[in-house]
Symmetry: C2
Subunit: 319 residues, 2 copies
Amino acid sequence: MKIGIIGGRGHWGTVLQSLPQVPGAVIAGISEATDQLRSLTGNPPEFSDYREMLERIRPDIVCVDGWFHQHAEMCLEAIKRDIAVYCEKPIALTLPELAAIRQALQEHPVPLISITPLRYEPAFATARQLVAEGAIGKVKLVRSQKSYKLGQRADFYRRRETYGGTIPWVGSHGIDLLMLFGADKFLSVTAMHDCSDNFGLGEMEITAQCIFRCAGGILASTSLDFLRPAAAPTHGDDRVRVAGTSGVIEVIAGEITLINAEGEQKITPQPVNGAIFSDFALGKSRISTEETLTLTEACLLARESADSGQTKYFPAAQE
Amino acid sequence: MKIGIIGGRGHWGTVLQSLPQVPGAVIAGISEATDQLRSLTGNPPEFSDYREMLERIRPDIVCVDGWFHQHAEMCLEAIKRDIAVYCEKPIALTLPELAAIRQALQEHPVPLISITPLRYEPAFATARQLVAEGAIGKVKLVRSQKSYKLGQRADFYRRRETYGGTIPWVGSHGIDLLMLFGADKFLSVTAMHDCSDNFGLGEMEITAQCIFRCAGGILASTSLDFLRPAAAPTHGDDRVRVAGTSGVIEVIAGEITLINAEGEQKITPQPVNGAIFSDFALGKSRISTEETLTLTEACLLARESADSGQTKYFPAAQE
């Protein structure tokens, strides 16, 4: 199995993490390479134009991790060559780009997912399993949080055109958690974001809040910020809290707390079988192509809501 | 100082908690009394019509804690007699009622607050003091949570007309926390609430999410639910998380966590001087009349947003 990699800006490293679990898989070509990408992949054939790489190598899977605003174009170039796509999130920065990808997938139905590795974090995966087993009854409220350290940001984060916005970039993870816990049939979204006091980072939003109305009377929200202090013990403060008709489950700092009829208890996260890349390559991804498309749509509609100050409705919304 | 009490449905007990701290204060009359109200107040003169109590006793302060949908009328009857009002929140269930109270206060400028005792909880008060001292820099994001056990609810909770809705009833506390931590100049609000799977409680909403855009580029949100399991260790799971330009402070389960340039640390909550009723009676309330009016307006506009699916803008909004 031949793997191509375009760019090294985000989660491409997840390919290497589980490559050994995919029999016969090799990195057959790279493009838009960084020094790190070259060295960690053992200096495979390198191409200055990623299209040439797709043509010459004809990879079975391409990992798209180039400039954010070129993700959609790169996905399209792969799809039309019937190459499976493992793409840094979000797969598109605009709704027309997303529509083009959806259209291309109808003509060339290849597997495509964006890289949302929180589904493979033991605490989230274990909590999800408990919810699926009925530990909290019927899910009614899902809230997630992503709080990041700002750190040093490259110049392209300063411009919406090249960054895409904090809701698509960070919200992809926050909204993926909502979907993981059952808030996956979105009806409407209202969001707010703000770029004041953003440490000189131009158009980059430093905070965002998004609330979703979902089918089944489920309300969901995600909170995003880049205000985690540099001295905090970890880079990110990822959380989820899910309230159902017979219990509440929560993940904070990798710890699971479950409250239900038996009272409050800590749950030990269980090891996760598989990994995001190898599962994708082996045809048993925990994330479907349709979920990736829904996630991307949710991000982009939320950003549109925040930009316009208006609630946005999902075209496919059906209660 | 003569105190009158109307009804015993909510936080009237806070009067007794700090009555001894108000020199010369006595419960001079009660109306719409419950057995508990009678016995704990030592069976003062009782009136079947609260207006008669106001006329005959002429209390200096009246505690309004009757039927929720009569709060506004009771406030108005007191205001027009120049009696200070200490009222169960919310002080009104509709915007026209709130406007009438605002108007009456212009003609009779008596002190009036709603009972929002979280400001006097040691953890919230201590965290607030730290924020005021600059422990997290400039506030950019404030999030609060109120999660309650549902328990047994009287019939009047089943109807919007008599209950008012979960956003005013529970959100009064959640939004008060937002205001306490600097999100107090509201520009717009979008909210969602839901009454499906509400254990047969009619129109009572079991979940709600509200997000606010505030002056100064502050985003704020409150999450409300009645899904805390009966077996949980406490009745309520009250929280706040405040992120600023140089730190994050959080209160969960009465514990304060502060992260800033010095890393992460637990802060010991300090004892609070004063109490909500005695401070009000002694003219040194931590909550102003104007804040109570703003809080009530925020609750009612949030509920309107949730009902209509539209963002609501605050009339006085000025960036």
